[in-house]
Symmetry: C2
Subunit: 410 residues, 2 copies
């Protein structure tokens, strides 16, 4: 008898039939003698529909009201799934974010979980009730509804698993697990059986799309084993877990790419202390995440300051940066909306040099120009022209021998 | 400077353009120096869409989860309207039922308001914030979401007006006010300028569809003046208010009909004390409202017991009554799903006899058979074959001279 947290994404609950399918899965696990907390997303397409309504009303919808709006999507799914289980004769009960409560800060649309009360849920679990919890949403200390940002349901699931000290957290999605790269680009991409939190963090943040980055941070912090698997079959997926020796022996575990970024270059800014902060602070205040940052060496006392933000934040970031650029006497701003970021990730890099070199050589051989470079302990990322994305991913996947199972460190 | 509560129904907020139209109306009233609480329903069609999803899942959806599901409709509208007003430069803030909070009992889908806290709202109003409140929904003492039943947004509006001691409560809808009968059936139906709470109660409960019955009870209890008017023009509508001398001089103020009822007859039940209760109690326990009840005189120690319930409750009521009928040895059950109830309503009836007689004569002259009769101090209702509904309404409207403004009591 275990306490299992399961999370089903929008595609898995995208229709009444699929909700029934989820209910059968849940019922099966319950009948095997387990306690269950099931976290669900909005039906696929619903959140987009709500966002479209908001954008029809105005260009920059108020963020408090935006969260009230989009959180209604999960409210529909929890009710339908709980109804379905009850009609099958099971004890089930839906929980909205404010009913748990899942307390967050007040950063609407990007809220962070601060505390989860397990009291009410535990009582229901003890009585044999299956809990259906709305993912993605929380409530701040003032009783306002908040959301955790796109993909936040993964975070809800892992956070609930941590709060309830669940035995396992299963993330059901429409893919079989985490692959060495996007199988749509590389037909010989391979499913990874086990991966460390740190590698998964790099893969997720770089666009693996399978698991939301913040959920992995949560999982790492509270040592929650996360099993990513498909809701359409019973195949084992990928286990995201603590690092072990065997993982270290693999040089590169995956190649990822992200096409949803844009580049903003503030050109010819005076090269003096405080300039970087004066550009980045207003963006942080507006809750815009800056990803890569590059500052070139100084020339004639001025320099170029370049960074990337995700496409959704581009307009707002450009507006804010424009104001700053005027204040600090920059010459102009250049933007590029058709870039992509390609990265190689692997724990093995920490103890083996040469990964970056091999990456750059491989790209150069194909005539792909590198616009920006950024590195961490276990990944190397480059920004390239978006049109070379697929080519870059394929040649790198091949160069690092990812299609074969037994890759030896060089 | 007044405190105005406005309520907009589903048709008035049925699209982004219509929400913009509502926002302009609200802004105009605010600019005139008033404080505003705006109550909104779900976008027209949305609640039906949600109900259809529930019915696709199962025949009798769990009521707790049903309320979680359908309350999401109002959540969408409050967010969109608040967003719209904010984008126009106004201070606005959405309130869900549990955020006010509007505390109700736990009778899901038919909950009754027990208490409204005005503390948070008052503070916002004092700061000049326009409050956009979700109609139809509340929260019980256990933190569960409840709904007030179809049309419950009217009740939300009147209850908020009472709690905040508002100067006026305006109910915006897609008609110009309350008519002497359905203008679609009678082209010479006339708009009523002022009507008493009691008459409105009879009109509303009998199917006038303009104002939910419970909202009128609330208005009467707390003496809230309710102005029913159209959201598509600036015409004055109908004021529902305290009874005055002039109103009493009108014999009949309106003819209404209801086609959403069904008849269940339990035939040949033993005529002994406790039989009526044994039939009605299980229905009450299942939260099914029984409307008309008729028990015929006894014959051979047994009698027929007939009642009507609304179409939505029919299946459930029949199931429950079937079980009871077996227990009490009734001969059988007969049902009729194609009936309608036609009623004449008027304060003047209290002091003038002959209204019922005139009604029965008028129907007889057209060959319309009366199946059941029920009377109150200010109304007479009959159940007839549904196919005669339109004819009955027209001849009665004519017989009581409602098309003419100055009807003298006989």
């Amino acid at each position: 008898m275990a306490l299992v947290v399961q999370k089903y994404g929008g595609t898995s609950v995208g229709s009444v039939d699929r909700i029934r399918n989820v209910a059968s899965r849940v019922a099966r696990v319950y009948d095997e003698g387990n306690s269950l907390v099931v976290v669900v997303s909005a039906m696929s397409g619903e959140t987009n529909k709500l966002v479209a309504l908001a954008n029809e009303i105005c260009e920059f919808p108020d963020t408090r009201e935006y969260d009230v709006l989009v959180s209604s999507g999960e409210q529909v799914t929890v009710a339908l799934l709980a109804m379905c289980l009850k009609s099958m004769g099971y004890k089930a009960k839906s929980y909205l974010g404010h009913q748990v409560p899942i307390t967050t800060d007040s950063a609407y649309s990007k809220a962070r979980i601060e505390k989860i009360s397990d009291r009410k849920m535990r009582k229901d679990l003890e009585e044999g009730t299956i809990i259906i919890a709305a993912g993605f949403q929380g409530v701040d200390s003032g009783g306002n509804i908040t959301t955790l940002g796109r993909g936040g349901s993964d975070t809800s699931a892992v956070a609930l698993a941590a709060a309830l000290k669940a035995d396992v957290c299963e993330i059901y999605t429409d893919v079989d697990g985490v692959y060495t790269t996007d199988p749509n680009l590389c037909s010989d991409a391979r499913k990874i059986e086990r991966i460390s939190y740190d590698e998964m963090l790099e893969l997720a943040s770089l666009g693996a799309k399978v698991l939301q980055i913040r959920s992995v941070q949560f999982a790492k912090k509270y040592s929650v084993d996360v099993h990513v698997r498909s809701s359409f079959n019973d195949n084992p997926g990928t286990l995201v877990t603590k690092e072990d020796k065997k993982m270290e022996s693999i040089l590169v575990s995956g190649i990822t790419y992200a096409k949803d970024e844009t580049k903003i270059a503030v050109r010819r800014v005076p090269d003096k202390p405080g300039i970087a902060a004066s550009i980045l602070l207003p963006l942080a205040d507006a809750n815009i995440s800056v990803d890569m940052i590059v500052q070139n060496v100084s020339e004639d006392g001025s320099t170029d300051f370049t960074f990337t933000v995700c496409k959704a934040d581009f307009k707002k970031a450009l507006m804010i940066t424009g104001e700053v650029a005027e204040k600090i006497n920059a010459r102009d701003i250049q933007t590029d909306e058709s870039i992509s970021k390609v990265s190689v990730v692997g724990l093995g890099m920490r103890s083996h040099a040469g990964v970056a070199t091999k990456m750059f050589q491989t790209l150069a051989k194909e005539g792909i120009n590198i616009q920006m470079i950024s590195t961490s302990e276990i990944k190397v990322s480059v920004v390239i022209d978006a049109k070379y994305t697929e080519l870059a991913v394929r040649v790198l996947h091949d160069a690092f021998g990812l299609a074969n199972k037994d890759v030896k460190p060089e």
